[in-house]
Symmetry: C2
């Protein structure tokens, strides 16, 4: 099945179509009890925005970066447990094939969760069998440790392919990083509008990677906290504020080219051009003290109004941020506010944020273990996240947040032809 | 605002309505930037099933039990940290008022996240400001320890009000319970079709309970694993199987009366009639060995087919379960299968299941920390969950699951009048 045909088809529609052209076994299945939920959730044509369709997998860039941010996240970082480069390549090829299928709303493998014989192990785990593609994107990245030498041995013969910017982030004041949930040789970011679809995709990649990779850490996010398209409304983070109003947007192609995509002439461009660097930070929010602070304290900390999300001193969310405006002889937007310090005007750079809220239960001390799983894409981490974060050292918000995990990955360009696979240019 | 008026109104619609009748401040706010997301997500009239509306808060029974199961869960168990009964009562009254508002799609308090003065602490945290009610239900329960004596003192003067069935569950073979995420004096089950709405509700109850209760443990669930209404399609659990086909359904009122609601004459009926007992079990699923088992092994373990969810030997999901049917001289549904042992025919009882799938990251050993947060409602835990669970001691599924948390609560009847509150009959 060509990309053109599979694009936009849910598992359900795919089954129907396939059944019409084959022996009818699939069609009989689709007419049985297996399609209920997908049917119920497909909105009527011309109705509400379709969050069930498929996002194209192939292209110059990987999907899941400037793609309008979906609602749910399952992010996973892996350690590579083999020292056999060929096994790693084979897995990346298998992952690409499965990602191509799953992002089109199909099972991870040809046989699916119920094909083959009864004494075969299914090649899909089945929990998304009745669900549409739900906007699933799968985005892969390579961590600095993949390019490292271990005990004097170049792990996968990649040491001389590591671009200079792909290196561990520097320490920042206030960091409380847990190494067990930081770093990783590989990562997969799964975004979808249905969490079960995102979880299903990650789980099947884990299954396909058995013996080659081991899950190092994993993070679910339930609420997107940034818009990456000007067509999206700005969501609220767990501080109750709109987040990402002035984020880079996909429609601003010149800024995206300048700040997000690695370009010919950049370090590592021989395999990374068209790709981007991914920085993740698990940011615990101190929910309880925030919730006992006054509205004024909250708005002065952020630099925007809580309800409308307007820059302080302005009325509307998208009113221009004016750092010279004064109220009663004071700057309307305090110079210690998050907006003041993070804004491109003052940080001198821009990053594409794509984070998600999380609540990971509670911490044993009566507090919610909640916050923001920060995700940012940039052309170079040093002039992207690191430059912004260094500028936040006097951020009033630091009182209410703590970074507990950190990672950086280089995300290769998109997969193009039918035979292409994640990382081909790096491993070839 | 009366219940009739508020019922079914989202925050957005409420703001619009209130603005039309008041000074216009709210209306101006509603016309500003604050309504984007809610607007985008309200489906067109006559379109897809409305998952954004409000579920009535008041009634003979608490909502969130036979209410058609919403898609997302935030469950929280509390320790009461005060020894002052009046403080506890005051908090339950404040919780009830907030729950009444939030389930109608309103802020937790009158002033909201941006009302009052700038130097007031907002009485809502704000992250659901733009979101509709999303089917939110809040269900409260009282644990056995609330009725206990500590150091010879009857904690809250409730010792003689404890119904006999409200006692810790017995130990079961294979249990691996972590006390830190088990038990609790109080619980709140928040279910909604938007996780941010469920999280917002729990968080605001935590905020209102500061100094009175402390979070003991908390669990998010992303995918409902049972239907509680015959109008709902049966979802799949993380084993990839349809779960809850033969669950008790709200429409089967005689079975619900018999198996779910505490009734006059039952222990504790003086305050608990119209209520129900809630049992929770966090059930870790051993995802990786399951995913390497054959389709036959999986289907023999469950007792149903994977694709259609049909009882083995049958064709359709809702075909009757026939434990006498044989294939090649063997019972079609193995006597060690989960369906065989859990089915009312063989367990001799029935419970209303309402569980959710979870993925809580990974376990440090390369495995997903994933499974089912099992929730069941019953008229009596002894003849409900305990009886079913005892019958599962030879369940083939035990190889693939491990119970890591356990709790039991008595959920009082619904709140009726405007002055009623959660637990009034117990504390009066």
């Amino acid at each position: 099945m060509s990309d053109d045909v599979s694009r936009g088809l849910s598992r359900r529609r795919f089954f129907g179509l396939a059944g019409a052209g084959t022996a009818g076994v699939l069609a009989a299945g689709a007419a049985g009890g297996a399609i209920g939920r997908a049917t119920a959730e497909v909105p009527p044509a011309g109705g509400a925005a379709d969050t069930t369709g498929a996002v194209p997998f192939t292209g110059a860039h990987q999907a899941g970066i400037v793609t309008p941010a979906q609602d749910r996240l399952h992010f996973v970082a892996f350690d590579v447990v083999t020292d056999d480069r060929a096994e790693l390549v084979e897995m990346l090829q298998a992952w690409t094939a499965a990602a191509r299928r799953m992002t089109a709303g199909q099972d991870a493998g040809e046989v699916g969760a119920v094909g083959g014989g009864p004494y075969d192990v299914p090649d899909d785990t089945g929990e998304a069998m009745d669900l549409p593609a739900a906007g699933l994107t799968l985005t892969v990245g390579f961590g600095p440790t993949l390019f490292a030498t271990a005990d004097g041995v170049d792990r996968f013969g990649l040491a001389d392919r590591r671009p200079g910017p792909l290196t561990e982030l520097p320490a920042f004041p206030g960091d409380a990083l847990d190494p067990a949930i930081s770093g990783g040789d590989l990562c997969v970011q799964a975004c979808a509008n249905d969490p079960q679809v995102a979880v299903h995709a990650v789980r099947n990649l884990i299954r396909l990677g058995a013996g080659v990779v081991s899950v190092r850490w994993s993070q679910l996010g339930f609420g997107r906290t940034s818009s990456t398209s000007s067509a999206q409304a700005t969501p609220r983070n767990l501080f109750g504020f709109k987040d990402g109003t002035d984020n880079l947007k996909a429609e601003n192609t010149s800024a995206i080219e300048k700040f997000v995509w690695v370009t010919d002439g950049d370090p590592g461009a021989d395999w990374l051009a068209g790709g981007s660097y991914l920085v993740t930070r698990r940011i615990r929010m101190r929910i309880e003290p925030w919730d006992t602070s006054t509205l004024a304290e909250q708005e002065q900390t952020i630099g925007r109004t809580k309800k409308a999300g307007a820059p302080l001193g302005q009325r509307g969310e998208f009113d221009p941020v004016d750092f010279t405006a004064q109220v009663d002889g004071e700057f309307a937007i305090p110079q210690t506010s998050h907006v003041f310090l993070a804004h491109p005007t003052n940080s001198g750079t821009a990053i594409l944020r794509r984070g998600y809220s999380f609540v990971d239960g509670s911490d044993g001390l009566g507090r919610l273990d909640a916050g923001l799983f920060f995700i940012a894409y940039q052309r170079n981490p040093e002039t992207g996240f690191t430059q912004v974060q260094r500028n936040l050292r006097t951020d009033a918000m630091n009182e209410y947040v703590q970074h507990t995990s950190s990672a950086v990955f280089a995300c290769p360009p998109g997969v193009t032809g039918d035979d292409d696979w994640w990382g081909r240019a790096l491993f070839s």
